[in-house]
């Protein structure tokens, strides 16, 4: 983990209100692993403190000495970030957090909206590894909210899409794509590993489904993160039967963002 001033070398709106930002940082490019995130400080000018805090973004891709994040403009922080131009320097803290566990022989990536980027990176890191097959299920509100599907396909994954309005793929929820895949598993069949990242409602549904079908599941969580490095105790999630330093609570920024769904008190 380092605090770096990095240069933006690419910054484009890839679909309405969604941006892909690429910045130069050998440190991050060489050490980051899928599931980790960067904490970016959007600033208009020095001594301007609104918005005040950093914003967290999953690492979506790595190149020789650059990294990508793919984000959606939600509020003023991401709006301000989207104003930064190619050539500008941004303040980045990272890579942060616990990465995804290594894939097994069969893996199912379940992503929703801007939860897809970290899964795209996971797929890219295991591209061409025929011993670890991956399938991707992607959910989004509509075509405009679909990101990183091309990244997933470029990594050779079979990608199935579900949108609320049916503008792409089947109409419905991504969990409706997941259920049959789990239901068809013979009781004694080898269990696939499910990786999931997206809105809380989706994560909850996926976690529940995986529990029902006794399939291990890793989820990447989100919570407001003042510090991103574990010092404020602001970003916690309650765990089941855990009681140590942090009582029942874990800090998503350092004990996550990736966690085993069966450990979480949903």
């Amino acid at each position: 983990m380092q605090n770096l001033k990095t240069e933006i070398i690419y910054h484009q709106e890839i679909s309405p209100a969604h941006f892909r930002l690429r910045a130069r940082s050998a440190e991050i490019a060489h050490s980051a692993r899928a599931g980790q995130f960067v904490h970016i400080l959007p600033r208009a000018v020095n001594f301007s403190f609104d918005p005040l805090l950093r914003r967290a973004f999953s690492i979506a891709a790595l190149q020789d000495d650059t990294f990508d994040v793919v984000y959606r403009v939600e509020g003023r922080g991401t709006a301000l970030l989207s104003r930064h131009q190619k050539g500008d320097t941004i303040d980045v803290l990272g890579p942060l957090g616990v990465p995804f566990a290594p894939p097994v022989t069969k893996n199912i990536l379940v992503g929703g909206g801007v939860g897809v980027p970290p899964l795209a990176m996971l797929a890219a890191q295991h591209e061409g590894d025929s011993t670890r097959r991956m399938t991707a299920l992607v959910g989004a509100r509509s075509r405009d909210y679909l990101v990183c599907v091309d990244d997933l396909e470029r990594s050779g994954l079979d990608v199935r899409v579900a949108t609320d309005d049916g503008s792409v793929g089947v109409q419905g929820r991504v969990t409706e794509l997941l259920e049959p895949m789990l239901a068809d598993l013979a009781p004694d069949a080898e269990r696939p590993l499910v990786y999931s990242c997206g809105p809380l409602v989706m994560l909850r549904a996926v976690a529940k489904m995986c529990q029902t079908y006794r399939v291990p599941c890793q989820v990447s969580l989100e919570e407001s993160m003042p510090c991103g490095v574990g010092v404020c105790n602001g970003c916690v999630v309650p765990l089941l039967n855990a009681a140590d330093d942090y009582g029942a609570y874990r800090r998503i920024c350092v004990d996550g963002p990736v966690m085993w769904s069966h450990e979480i008190a949903w």
Binding site: F47, F49, C232
Partner: protein
């Protein structure tokens, strides 16, 4: 050459910049990013008599030039603090201020006693002003209670005792005088202001605790005023806290009467914010050829 050294009662610090309680963990997390030995001091997260799980999430939310938090004093409790955290903290060459909170006068005395028996503690900061726990504010809103809790803590330890006051009072100088009366070696001014925010979609508070403590640049003018008023009211040294983001902010607090400052929320924005403040102070003293930071303390001109 200039001097940044300062004095907080019996405690001498090589520079007047400390990290604020609850914003620097127990030092561990930021070791990779911050050379702790450069700090004037490190104030660790509040420790209580018994472990506390803290409040349910969401615990924080951003506000204009500030943030609300209601962590709820999550901590491992004094026993495990001494067994697990202290040994680690001790290894650094930085004065360690242990911040403690209790629900009764006896709790504070107990905690002070327990810490006195330990090596490597520079001072004890009494958090009698945490807005995010039941009874949290009671002490610092009542002069009599404040004097009582401070004097009992004083009597229970040989270590320097700082009292951390709440700004959520009608007249903070009354509380400051009571703490001085009780024997506090210094006052930490201030803890957070109680505020809230509402999510208009869900119509729920943005923080599970409903209200939380406001910190950051937004409160700087209010914190500075508290320090200025207390500087007129008491003789013991003051530690300025509230919205300090850089050396210029810190200098305002010194001029208002603070002998030291604590950096809180700024650390979330820049992990090494405290070190930047120290560097900035050095540059300022050099540039304005002031030989000692002490020349700044209370140097406000109101004629």
């Amino acid at each position: 050459m200039h001097s940044l050294s300062t004095q907080l009662g019996p405690l001498s610090l090589k520079n007047p910049v400390l990290t604020a309680s609850g914003t620097f963990g127990y030092g561990q997390e930021l070791e990779a990013l911050v050379d702790l030995s450069q700090l004037g001091g490190l104030v660790c997260k509040t420790v209580t008599r018994h472990p506390r799980a803290g409040n349910a999430p969401p615990r924080t939310c951003e506000t204009p030039a500030g943030m609300l938090n209601a962590i709820g004093l999550q901590n491992v409790g004094i026993e495990r603090f001494i067994a697990e955290k202290l040994p680690y903290l001790r290894q650094f060459d930085v004065p360690l201020v242990v911040n403690v909170a209790g629900e009764s006068v006896e709790d504070f005395a107990f905690l002070a006693r327990a810490l006195s028996a330990q090596e490597g503690i520079a001072a004890i900061e009494l958090n009698i002003s945490c807005p995010n726990v039941a009874h949290g504010l009671d002490f610092a809103t009542d002069p009599a209670l404040t004097e009582e809790v401070v004097s009992h803590a004083r009597a229970s330890t040989h270590l320097p005792v700082f009292a951390k006051l709440s700004p959520n009072v009608t007249d903070i100088t009354l509380i400051a005088r009571a703490a001085e009366q009780g024997g506090a070696h210094a006052l930490s001014l201030i803890n957070t202001f109680v505020g809230m925010a509402i999510d208009i979609r869900t119509r729920r508070p943005r923080i599970s605790n409903i209200s939380g403590g406001l910190s950051g640049p937004a409160i700087k003018p209010l914190a500075l005023r508290a320090v200025y008023r207390c500087a007129q009211a008491v003789k013991i040294p003051l530690i300025g806290i509230g919205g300090i983001m850089n050396a210029n902010d810190a200098i305002e607090f010194f001029i208002a009467g603070a002998s030291a400052v604590q950096i809180g929320t700024a650390t979330f924005v820049q992990p090494d914010a405290a070190l930047s403040v120290i560097r900035g102070l050095e540059e300022y003293l050099d540039a304005s050829s002031i030989s000692s930071i002490q020349e700044l303390v209370g140097s406000i001109r109101v004629d």
